[in-house]
């Protein structure tokens, strides 16, 4: 005889369990105190009043009709309050069994007991166990899991879940296909730029046709204009701006000569172009790429539109043969869509790309995919406990994606240009969040210390809680406070403010750096970018300056002009000076002793000799300043401080709209001036700087500029390098090597001696020693065990409860929780290393407290649990990419919580009207949707589970979701809902009707909107 079909079998098994239960209508903890109609825990006259009020005044019936049946005659009537009153006041009648103590009804009758909280102690029954286990270890019951537990038993299921590696996911098609849809794969590669962005090209405006040989090697382009890329106008994204292009010409011709020693040594050749709108590219005169271009006439518009922002890679590997050893030329004609177009951009980069061996890089396109992956795993993975715990740790060590992305977006490369686009910043931050989350998942049942160490050294955490800003002498306590308060000991548990201040010193020097993937996690790897600077202007002599008592070169009516900054301005009357110039903070070579209270401005000029501007690699100005400056090259503004954002152009000598800025605030600001190479002359040029103070009484002013020509050397990992990996990095010169005493006077005091300055290993050990101490501490054991018990067993055991209430005064259920906490702490101490999560979880999941009726359905689902359990209950097909909005409306935007304390575990936090409304809407939308990536397959689900009538559907979900606990009243209300129209008038509910499916959806929506579905 073969095994029955899956669904039949489940129905049979569930049915068998329910048959047993049907004999005693009271479900679950079906014990009660007879006579206690109002479920107060005692039998008194108010019970008689309660029943009388129900019988004669329309009051609510007792939630335990067995209890109201004081005389145990099988019905609730006037005889019951009379019986109770006689018992109470005459004592001539007794209360039939179980009497006035908790017990079961020995008499078979039609009455039931839905709720009797006073008696709800002791283990729950088998059906409840299945529902309970699947609601806590897993994201809610599915038919498949219920069947599996019926097969192997609850104990085996728990043991399997504690050892996720034994659960095979290779044939889990829904999980695997949904996950792979969220992930793209990319082969790692290294790029060597043959032509970099911001290099100087020669360009010619397309006002007429050039000679046909314009794109060949031999062509003489010396009469063309030099300019750095990107070249174009509009959108504020161009270095060389063609401000006469609009309405005048639609194409631009560009040429760039480059050297290749040995073309055969190039692995793959890529042209990466950021463009708007079309272009044709030629290698040594032969066309290589043509995008959005029909005719190549000088006056031909692009054949289609394209917006710049994300460079597109074009593979020219098949064209490597066009290259010669020695000098080659890349020539490009860029086309605009129309004369009146609002913008044009062309920024070509030529790349020699070496594809590296090794596994492909798995990447999420963005944070939306990472968020979806959390749901996909939660819904479809068979390793449910691992996912539930992984989500728990992710929340415990929460970080904010937005802050990380914003940080990346503000970075620059060593050439002072933006390191990456906003899109790349968000993608890198998202993948870092994913990397962190996946570590927590993989180690969800591992050792707590590994999780704590991972979190401390994770780039996202270092950025999120400002540990990257934690410097010697300028400590930032943000992370230090939270590792104690939120990650290990718990708030105010065993430490004081002084400990945080001392501990913050151990973390000074911690930061992040982009490194080669193989160096990930090595805090001492060589992560600096290598470059060579040819210094054009150093600190020191050679400056002329003028005190700003008045405009140096006033125009008509005294308005400021820039004549003083021009190349040929005669500055012989100005004073001689050396940088730094200023007063007040000891960093000045030329001290302006009379500036305070007298004048706001200083004007500076310095000659720079540049024999061949076109030979410059990267023209860079670094400047430390106080409070504001505007810099000019040959009379053209090339840079200004943010503190002068709101000031005039040019600012007048008495400009009063200057924000404060200190030399020590930040590293010197760095400006890439390649865009201005075109205004440089061979030979003499002039750098002019206008310094401004924030007010006359300011205590200081400083100006410390240098100018260099920077060559970035190959082999460096820049901030924007997509092949690099963000790693923890220890900056030895930012570390405080002094002695520290943390937890002074405590049994777990940690004394760190003074260490030799500049010893990276010794300095990095400071905080690692602290983390090791925290990871194994008894205080951590208590805090983490408490959190796990709150997550998996009950919200009730707050630390305060057990610290403040003597054990004897706890209820029996609270005692079982207190005992569980003590057991968990003992388990924590017993493993090697301490804090093995699998052992602690085994402890929790096999405890009496876990299976106590006090725990059963006592916790409110958070939004993640609600959504995942709803999809699982319906076995719905989802890609989870549209869940973000619902999660946010329910108040839980995972991966971008601002606060570091994680989403709360206590039920009351999630019971709000807006949250409840969104829950109902999610259920309704999922039921109604016909999108294959967000739908419940109503008909096939009904067929598979062999149901059709309202009663069958109601019974199925009553058993699956509510362990059969919906009573006859609830059932009748649901039947009424199914079998009526919108006005509650009878309407046949038949599979043959066109409205059948939508009415099933609507009815199931109602069943998933019941109060009970918010509990687990």
């Amino acid at each position: 005889m073969g095994k029955p079909r899956r669904t039949q079998r489940v129905v049979i098994l569930l049915g068998a369990l329910l048959v047993t239960l049907a004999l005693t209508p009271a479900r679950g903890a079906n014990t009660f105190i007879r006579g206690d109609s109002n479920v107060s825990g005692v039998v008194d006259s108010s019970d008689a009043v309660h029943t009388l009020s129900h019988l004669f005044l329309g009051g609510l019936p007792s939630s335990c009709r067995d209890a109201a049946d004081s005389n145990d005659d099988g019905s609730v009537d006037i005889g019951d309050p009379v019986h109770t009153l006689i018992y109470l006041f005459r004592g001539t009648l007794q209360i039939p069994p179980p009497g006035i103590v908790c017990g079961r009804d020995p008499t078979a009758d039609a009455l039931g007991c839905i709720s009797f909280s006073e008696c709800e102690q002791g283990p729950i029954d088998d059906l409840a166990k299945i529902g309970h286990v699947l609601s806590r270890l897993a994201y809610g019951p599915t038919m498949t899991d219920v069947e599996h537990i019926l097969d192997v038993g609850v104990d085996t299921y728990i043991e399997e879940q504690l050892n996720p590696q034994v659960i095979d996911e290779t044939d889990n098609d829904e999980l695997n296909s949904r996950m792979s849809a969220l992930i793209t794969e990319r082969q790692p590669s290294t790029d060597t730029r043959i032509i970099s962005p911001n290099e100087i090209w020669r360009f010619r405006k397309g006002t007429t046709a050039p000679p046909t040989s314009w794109n060949t090697q031999g062509f003489d382009d010396s009469s063309w204009t030099p300019g750095a890329t990107s070249i174009g106008y509009g959108d504020d994204d161009d270095v060389t701006v063609l401000d006469d292009m609009r309405n005048n010409y639609v194409t631009v011709y560009l040429r760039k000569e480059f050297e290749v020693a040995d073309p055969a040594a190039i692995d793959r050749l890529f042209l990466s172009v950021d463009y708007d709108d079309g272009f044709v590219a030629y290698l040594n005169g032969t066309q290589g790429v043509r995008e959005n271009v029909g005719s190549t006439a000088y006056n031909a518009t692009a054949s289609g539109g394209h917006e710049a922002g994300t460079p597109v890679d074009f593979d020219l590997t098949s064209r490597i043969g066009l290259l010669d050893p020695g000098t080659n030329v890349l020539a490009i004609q860029a086309h605009n869509t129309s004369l009146g177009s609002s913008d044009l951009t062309i920024r070509p980069v030529l790349i020699d790309r070496t594809i590296l061996p090794g596994p492909p890089i798995r990447e999420y396109a963005g944070i939306e995919e990472v968020k979806a992956s959390q749901h996909v795993r939660g819904i479809y993975s068979r390793r449910q406990l691992q996912v539930v715990l992984g989500d728990f740790w992710e929340n415990h060590f929460t970080t904010d994606f937005d802050k990380v992305a914003e940080h990346f977006n503000e970075l620059t490369n060593s050439d002072a240009n933006d390191a990456m686009s906003g899109e790349q910043a968000r993608r890198e931050a998202a993948n870092l969040e994913a990397r962190e989350y996946e570590f927590f998942l993989e180690n969800a049942l591992g050792n707590f210390g590994d999780l704590l160490r991972y979190s401390a050294t994770s780039a996202t955490m270092l950025i999120y809680l400002d540990n990257i800003l934690n410097f010697k002498g300028n400590a930032n306590e943000n992370y230090t406070r939270e590792i104690l308060e939120l990650h290990s000991y718990g708030v105010d548990n065993g430490y004081v403010q002084k400990d945080i201040e001392e501990a913050a010193g151990t973390f000074t020097g911690w930061g992040v750096c982009k490194v080669l993937p193989e160096d990930l996690g090595d805090a001492h790897s060589d992560c600096g970018v290598k470059f060579e600077d040819d210094v054009l202007v150093d600190l020191g002599a050679g400056w002329k300056y003028l005190k700003g008592n008045a405009e140096p070169t006033p125009g008509p009516l005294g308005v400021p002009t820039l004549d003083w900054a021009a190349i040929d301005f005669v500055d012989s009357a100005w004073l001689n000076g050396s940088t730094g110039i200023g007063y007040g903070d000891g960093d000045d070579a030329t001290v302006l002793g009379d500036m305070r209270n007298n004048y706001l401005s200083v004007y500076l000029r310095r000659e720079i000799q540049i024999p061949d501007p076109l030979a410059l690699k990267n023209l860079i100005m670094e400047i430390a300043y106080d409070d504001g400056f505007v810099a000019y090259l040959n009379g053209i503004e090339v840079a200004r401080s943010e503190s002068l954002e709101d000031a005039g152009s040019p600012p007048p000598f008495d400009e009063d709209n200057v924000d404060g800025h200190e030399v020590d605030d930040e590293p010197p600001e760095v400006f890439n001036l390649n865009g201005f190479i075109g205004i440089l002359k061979p030979g003499k040029n002039v750098l002019a700087i206008h310094m401004l103070n924030t007010n006359l009484t300011s205590s200081d002013l400083s100006c410390l500029p240098i100018v260099v020509d920077r060559e970035i050397l190959p082999g460096s990992i820049e901030n924007g390098d997509p092949n690099g990996a963000w790693s923890v990095h220890f900056y030895p010169d930012r570390h405080d090597y002094g002695s520290k005493t943390i937890f002074a006077g405590k049994s777990y005091q940690l004394g760190i001696p003074t260490k030799p300055e500049g010893n990276p290993d010794a300095g990095y050990a400071d905080a690692n020693d602290l983390i090791d101490l925290l990871a194994e501490s008894d205080l951590t054991a208590e805090f983490i065990c408490m959190k796990l018990i709150r997550k998996f067993v009950s919200d009730e055991p707050f630390s305060a409860t057990f610290h403040q209430i003597p054990f004897d005064e706890l209820t029996p259920y609270q005692k079982s929780l207190a005992e569980l906490l003590a057991d968990c702490k003992a388990t924590w101490r017993s493993t090697t290393p301490k804090g093995n999560i699998e052992a602690i979880m085994r402890n929790i999941l096999t405890s009496n407290a876990f299976f106590d009726s006090g725990s059963y359905r006592s916790k409110v689902k958070d939004p993640l649990e609600f959504i995942n359990s709803t999809v699982r209950a319906l076995d719905a097909s989802v890609d989870a990419l549209n869940f973000e909005g619902y999660m946010e409306d329910m108040g839980m935007h995972v991966f971008d919580r601002d606060e570091p304390d994680g989403w709360p575990e206590t039920g009351v936090d999630w019971i709000t009207t807006s949250g409840m409304l969104t829950r109902i809407k999610f259920v309704q939308d999922l039921n109604a949707s016909t999108d294959p990536d967000f739908m419940w397959r109503t008909r096939s689900f009904l067929a598979e589970n062999q149901m059709e009538t309202a009663g069958e559907i109601i019974d199925f979900f009553n058993n699956l979701l509510y362990q059969g606990s919906l009573d006859a009243e609830a059932r009748a209300r649901l039947v009424e809902f199914y079998e009526t129209n919108d006005s509650y008038n009878p309407l046949p509910f038949l599979p043959t009707r066109g409205d059948y499916e939508s009415r099933v959806d609507s009815g199931v929506s109602l069943m998933l909107s019941l109060p009970q579905w918010n509990f687990q």
Binding site: F116, N474, D659, I911, S914, L917, R973, D982, Y984, S1002
Partner: protein, 453 residues
């Protein structure tokens, strides 16, 4: 043109509720509508919780303390020139000591009219510098981080709900703040127009059904939420059932009154801040005008300024100033009964940190405005004058790192409950369970400020 309230209600119930077929609860709709109308003479409170800990020293500048200087606050220091600058309105508070940040100039009209009180150095003994804990304390009115019952929830329970107000309070917020959490279910929503179920009016009416006993046995969703609680009594059962009912009632109230920040026309001259903060303020004003609501809460985030505080903080201060100014104009007819206050979990370090920001500290600043503010011309700034603030007090606690509190936040709240709402000391002792014990430990901190008349 102003819309007369009676006209507006007629329009709302006629055109919106009936005309568009949204009479979810008819025939009871008119009965309920009347209940939801503003209650004449009922006192109202709007609290704005500044999440993250506002830098009070930057908001109400203690110019008279010489330690407020560029050495301690290199990038955050606001020069006296900027404060006195008439172009920005001039924000000197006139007591020779305290000044508002220039970006809060819009509040100065209220201040000069005697309708704004500035309360400095508000905190409590044993100040927590944890966001979570200190917010809990400020919101639940005790020093118990685990208490999930908010002060205003208890207040509603004790007073307003007992007086039969069916829509006593709400949070205009995606999440329900602790201050309003508790056994009395209080609704929350961030956007009233989106606060409705899926489907046509008829479909959502069927889905909602009716309450048990409301013309027959309960039906649909409301049938389940008002019928027998066929589910064991566990800690959150009853609040969840009741929240479901409040959800349905609130949807009806919002729809019937046409609450919608996009179509709302405030009084001329009421210039609300932009963005979601402004939208929430507009909904608050509309609710105060058209419903019986008495307590509303709004959150505004972004105050945790550890790094690069200057510009971000300026924008936030500007929004707060705009909020008070706009509410004053828009709620002029309600102003005698209104009180608008700010709350925040702590102030920030008096010394700027190395990241151009400030870190968690102690005493905070509270702004309070309304018709009941004590108009005393000499003293509308509290705890920030030469008699209450010794030179150097900005470093008066924790080894000279922080500004010490002078007045306990519970004393401020107690004054609101007693003077604004007219409640007895026994109500205060219930609403603020630790009032008496904390007062016993810190008598000076509980001396009433008398910022309300």
């Amino acid at each position: 043109m102003r819309v007369n309230r009676r006209d507006f209600l007629t329009t709302a119930s006629g055109a919106t509720a009936l005309g568009l077929g949204l009479n979810l609860f008819s025939p009871d709709i008119f009965k309920r509508r009347l209940l939801a109308e503003p209650i004449l003479g009922a006192k109202k409170l709007l609290f704005i919780f500044q999440r993250g800990g506002m830098d009070g020293i930057n908001a109400c500048i203690p110019r008279g303390d010489s330690e407020y200087n560029t050495t301690n606050r290199p990038t955050l220091f606001v020069s006296n020139n900027a404060v006195q600058n008439a172009n920005y309105g001039g924000t000197d508070l006139g007591n020779g000591f305290a000044q508002l940040h220039p970006r809060m100039a819009k509040m100065m009209d209220l201040y000069n009219n005697g309708e704004l009180a500035v309360l400095h150095r508000i905190g409590y003994r044993g100040q927590s510098r944890s966001h979570f804990d200190s917010q809990q304390y400020w919101e639940n009115g005790t020093r118990d981080r685990n208490l999930e019952v908010g002060m205003f929830n208890r207040f509603v329970q004790e007073t307003i709900a007992k007086q039969g107000n069916t829509f006593p309070a709400a949070a205009i917020s995606g999440g329900l703040m602790v201050a309003l959490r508790g056994p009395e279910p209080i609704p929350n929503f961030s956007s009233a127009p989106k606060f409705r179920l899926r489907g046509t009016a008829a479909q959502s009416q069927k889905f909602l059904g009716r309450k048990d006993g409301d013309g027959g046995p309960g039906r649909g969703l409301l049938g389940f939420y008002t019928g027998t609680r066929s589910f064991p009594s566990k800690p959150y059962r009853d609040i969840l059932y009741r929240t479901g009912v409040v959800l349905a009632d609130t949807m009806q109230t919002l729809q019937a009154n046409g609450i919608d920040p996009d179509s709302y026309v405030p009084e001329p001259g009421a210039d609300y801040p932009g963005g979601s903060f402004g939208d929430k303020l507009k909904q608050a004003a509309q609710l105060f005008k058209t419903t019986s609501v008495q307590i509303l809460g709004i959150n505004i985030g972004g105050w945790d300024t550890h790094t690069k505080q200057d510009k971000a903080h300026n924008r936030l201060l500007y929004d707060i100033g705009s909020a008070f100014s706009a509410l004053r104009v828009d709620l002029q007819d309600q102003w005698d009964d209104m009180l608008v206050i700010t709350m925040t979990e702590f102030g920030r370090t008096s010394k700027e940190n190395g990241s151009l920001g400030t870190d968690h500290a102690e005493a905070a600043v509270v702004f309070a405005a309304g018709g009941g503010v004590n108009p005393n011309q000499n003293k509308r700034v509290y705890n920030c004058d030469s008699s209450t603030w010794a030179n150097g007090d900005i470093f008066s606690t924790n080894n000279g790192r922080y500004l010490a509190h002078r007045t306990d936040f519970r004393a401020v709240m107690a004054e609101i409950f007693s003077k604004h709402f007219g409640d007895s000391q026994s109500v205060i002792d219930t609403v603020i369970p630790t009032y008496q014990s904390a007062k016993g430990e810190d008598a000076a901190g509980f001396v009433p400020l008398n910022f309300l008349s």
